[in-house]
């Protein structure tokens, strides 16, 4: 059956696309705002570019209740173990948005103490360029992430085959 047919027919939908639909429309972000990008993320939450239109308004400051980590701001070497711990505490279907130049590549802080891109340590799904990005840029990243979540398969989460 074609994927478009599945979407148009609710009764014969697969469990996979039903769950993906639920997941993509209820992304609960965990903001890790360490700099000005965090302020701009708050602007994305506010009334003008309301990200609750995409089901992502439930900001959880507890990693165990969230499934989307938004890293907004520069991460120093001392902060990285904290971020990795937070990432590992999040329950499994989890995604990461790297927001802004500092989180994505270190930005203007090309120094020994700032991580030159968080994807050296944790996997990143969506990169949002900008210093800081506009709230619309954040929404654009969120829409791209929703498209990514929609295409996910259960087999992506299967444990790796062991050679025994």
């Amino acid at each position: 059956m074609q994927h478009d047919d599945v979407k148009s027919n609710v009764l014969t939908t697969t469990l996979e696309s039903a769950i993906n639909w639920g997941r993509k429309n209820s992304l609960w972000p965990m903001p890790f705002g360490t700099a000005c990008c965090g302020i701009e993320f708050m602007a994305a939450l506010a009334a003008r570019t309301d990200i609750s239109r995409f089901g992502a308004e439930a900001i959880r400051f507890s990693p165990r209740q969230s499934d989307l980590l938004i890293v907004a701001g520069r991460i120093s070497i001392k902060m990285m173990p904290v971020l990795i711990r937070i990432y590992e505490q999040m329950p499994e279907p989890k995604w990461v948005i790297s927001m802004g130049a500092c989180a994505s590549s270190g930005g203007v802080f090309d120094t020994y103490s700032v991580i030159q891109g968080i994807d050296r340590f944790i996997p990143v799904d969506v990169y949002i360029p900008g210093c800081p990005p506009r709230p619309e840029g954040v929404v654009d990243g969120l829409i791209k992430l929703q498209e990514l979540v929609d295409k996910e398969k259960f087999s992506d989460y299967a444990p790796p085959a062991t050679n025994s």
């Binding site: 009334a47 003008r48 570019t49 309301d50 239109r53 130049a101 994505s104 590549s105 270190g106 930005g107 203007v108 090309d110 891109g117 994807d119 799904d125 969506v126 990169y127 949002i128 360029p129 900008g130 210093c131 990005p133 506009r134 619309e136 840029g137 929404v139 654009d140 990243g141 829409i143 791209k144 990514l148």
Partner: protein, 172 residues
């Protein structure tokens, strides 16, 4: 010793709680009929003012020659060193002798300060009004010369979001 005095004794009307509840709901109702501030983003775009610093572009002359002469002033002015230029001899007979063989900008490193367009003596590099260009991979956000020229074609005469005409650039 301090004596706590109650300045206000709740009356029967206060103890009902419903008047206060409806008072609060009236605020909600008032905002319901006010002008909406939300921009319905993917359908309705925010139009940045003139001079907004978004995605870069490389300008061209009207006959298709690239304005850039690969003098590397922009990469020297860049505070984050995100512009990488490899110069080469120009393929065109008229005009300047140099032109960029490669012109790569690391958009994830860029902080959109606009120093490059200020440093440029040929008005070749310019920042456009495009603000939504997030992507899934790091490689897609490395924009090269052809990508920058593509952005020029998108934003040459009209605003990328409002589709209104821009004033024509003077030929020098």
């Amino acid at each position: 010793m301090a004596i706590i005095t109650k300045s206000y004794e709740p009356t029967f009307w206060d103890k009902l709680y419903f008047p206060a509840l409806f008072k609060g709901l009236m605020v909600t109702l008032r905002y319901f009929f006010k002008r909406k501030v939300t921009i319905q983003y993917p359908e309705e775009k925010y139009i940045p003012p003139d001079g907004y610093r978004g995605l870069h572009r490389l300008n061209k002359y009207s006959d298709g020659r690239i304005r850039c002469v690969a003098c590397e002033m922009c990469s020297a002015a860049c505070p984050v060193d995100c512009i990488h230029i490899i110069p080469g001899p120009s393929p065109w007979d008229e005009g300047k002798e140099r032109y960029p063989v490669r012109f790569d900008i690391d958009l994830l490193r860029c902080i959109f300060c606009g120093f490059c367009e200020m440093a440029c003596p040929e008005e070749a590099i310019e920042l456009t009004e495009i603000y939504d260009f997030s992507d899934l991979t790091r490689e897609n956000l490395l924009i090269d010369r052809d990508g920058l020229l593509e952005v020029y074609e998108l934003t040459k005469n009209k605003n990328y979001y409002s589709q209104t005409k821009k004033s024509e650039k003077s030929e020098t």
